[in-house]
Symmetry: C2
Subunit: 350 residues, 2 copies
């Protein structure tokens, strides 16, 4: 809930011997799984950066490389489908590293009995999204599992991009005084999926914001790349989880101003009705930028001049105090802690 007087009360963290839906939430359980299972055994300097994309030095170039699997339910939703989302999600993970997206792979796991018309519709949507984003899908793979061992279509996309000279973004680069900018309204994707799934209808239907953000990033880098410390797209786990990751990596505090955070009235209303906090709800066409204070206004103007950044806002400041913690100054002047997501709000959101 986003009630201004309520202080967040983190759920006690549980250990478990089984995989829970919350392990896929992008919150605390995801971080625990990453640390305890994967980082423990795969440890290497590239992976240890913990960015949304690996940056690989090959020859004289810096390649960005990122992977994402998509299991969103339902497959089709207002504003997109699993195919377009699979393109946007991976393009965005490349773009958050400042990379120009170039190529995607596509790996499908299909469930026996899937209607081929559905697969065609998804493939067509994926092809259109790739064409719109200017990336080529250059290699692929298809596996089929028995009825009941999958769920229609799962898609993995893995992307390659090229990081331009001079661009050096890192979640560990935020410094006290930096401004936190968000590119537009938060929570649209999560609420669109949830309303589809639960059959809830609103007076003003809420569409997913699923979009490829690399042209917005290009415009931002062209304006003044040196003032941008880091960028993240707040997908699973929402704004709260992305900012907590940055606060932890940079060993800084982040203080948000509730009244500055752009959230549509419909989304705010849906969240209150459903008992969700919009700061934890997934976005698929929004970015957060942490920006040197001197360049923040200029960058904000550049973002607002781009269709995908028209509703961009400065929503907070990086602080020296409360290192590793995100707080929110509410409309009533109180302060609440915006912790990492505990448990799972919305499974299979992407």
């Amino acid at each position: 809930m986003n009630s201004p007087l309520m202080l967040a009360c983190p759920v006690p963290f549980q250990t478990t011997s089984r995989v829970l839906l919350g392990h896929g939430s992008g919150g605390k359980l995801s971080a625990q799984l990453l640390n305890d299972v994967f980082l423990r055994v795969f440890r290497n300097p590239v992976l240890d950066r913990l960015e949304d994309q690996a940056i690989l030095k090959i020859g004289g170039m810096r390649l960005a490389f990122t992977t994402d699997s998509f299991v969103v339910k339902p497959m089709f939703f207002r504003g997109g489908d699993i195919g377009s989302l699979a393109v946007h999600g991976t393009v965005n993970d490349l773009a958050m590293g400042g990379a120009e997206p170039l190529f995607l792979s596509a790996g499908y796991i299909l469930e026996e009995g899937l209607d081929l018309a559905v697969l065609n519709r998804v493939a067509e949507s994926m092809a259109l999204a790739a064409k719109d984003a200017g990336v080529d899908i250059v290699t692929g793979d298809t596996k089929v599992v028995e009825r009941g061992s999958g769920d229609g279509i799962f898609i993995n996309t893995t992307g390659i991009g090229l990081v331009p000279d001079g661009v050096n973004l890192s979640a560990s680069s935020a410094r006290p005084g930096d401004r936190v900018i968000v590119s537009g309204f938060l929570g649209d994707h999560g609420i669109a999926i949830l309303s589809e799934r639960e059959g809830i209808s609103f007076d003003t239907p809420i569409e997913s914001d699923s979009a490829a953000l690399h042209t917005l990033v290009r415009a931002m880098l062209a304006t003044n790349q040196t003032v941008i410390r880091t960028m993240r797209d707040p997908t699973r786990g929402g704004l709260a989880s992305s900012l907590n990751e940055i606060a932890a990596s940079s060993k800084v505090g982040i203080e948000l101003s509730e009244t500055s955070i752009p959230i549509r009235e419909e989304v705010r209303g849906a969240c209150e009705m459903l008992g969700l906090d919009p700061l934890y709800v997934a976005n698929e066409g929004k970015l957060i930028a942490i920006v040197e204070p001197s360049g923040a206004d200029q960058l904000l103007a550049a973002m607002r001049a781009h269709p995908l950044g028209a509703n961009a806002q400065i929503i907070g400041t990086v602080t020296a105090k409360h290192a590793g913690m995100v707080t929110e100054r509410t409309a009533f002047g109180t302060t609440r802690i915006v912790d990492m997501l505990s448990g799972d709000q919305l499974p299979r959101i992407c």
Copy 2:
């Protein structure tokens, strides 16, 4: 069946409006799905090459890029598991393009309720296989689906490698007179999986041949890279499917000599018992090379000097006649057509 007097009688090809297990077999249905659904919408010059890997020109370099999802059942089998297989499979797809494998991504789709001890065991096996192969897993993703919407663990690995100067392999490069070399015994992986799945035990247990082939490829390229036309690893659909793809791409015939094809007695026996043709059974640590006749003996000697090629054999010749077709001269002097796999022999073999 591999009965020497039996002529293959291809099953009439059926059209369907639903995804069948056979669409994942690597045979005719897979090719139809690729053509009718994916190539139709994703068409571009890199994808249209239809190799096991995309070759991307970025800067002055040629990058190999390939993706594979792994859904093998059971997850653990004699000679490997889904983790090691996910590394070997993608390393091999890079190596078949002559590339030095460099980096892998790892995308997991986990089923709610999975025992974390099982996930740990798979991750450890994957890390060990990557270390042994000299590749780093540099980026990853984990999704969780509800109980009954997945099947334990699915893994996507996507790989990046670097193609050395002067190496130009293509399935369309085979020419009449070329020799067909296979690096060792065929069918081990498929029979190992099947015996595990069906609870069949043999006097001599059959192990999967799952292995990373890039050091064998490196030795072959070092010996004489100019005589190698193309390489394939005969996984799903086996030797028959890989050779049919080469015959079709190069518009040549391929004539195999049954008595030269290395198949373990135990595998041959298991195939006869189970009604399988070993030429269609999956391998995960074998390669086929099509080689200029002048260099074939030298290359064969180099392969036999490598542990993964110790049982390499010249098994056939590329012909001008029967373009697009693979035939086998049997031990009895008859000739049979070795068509693409129709339907599905062994679902979820990789």
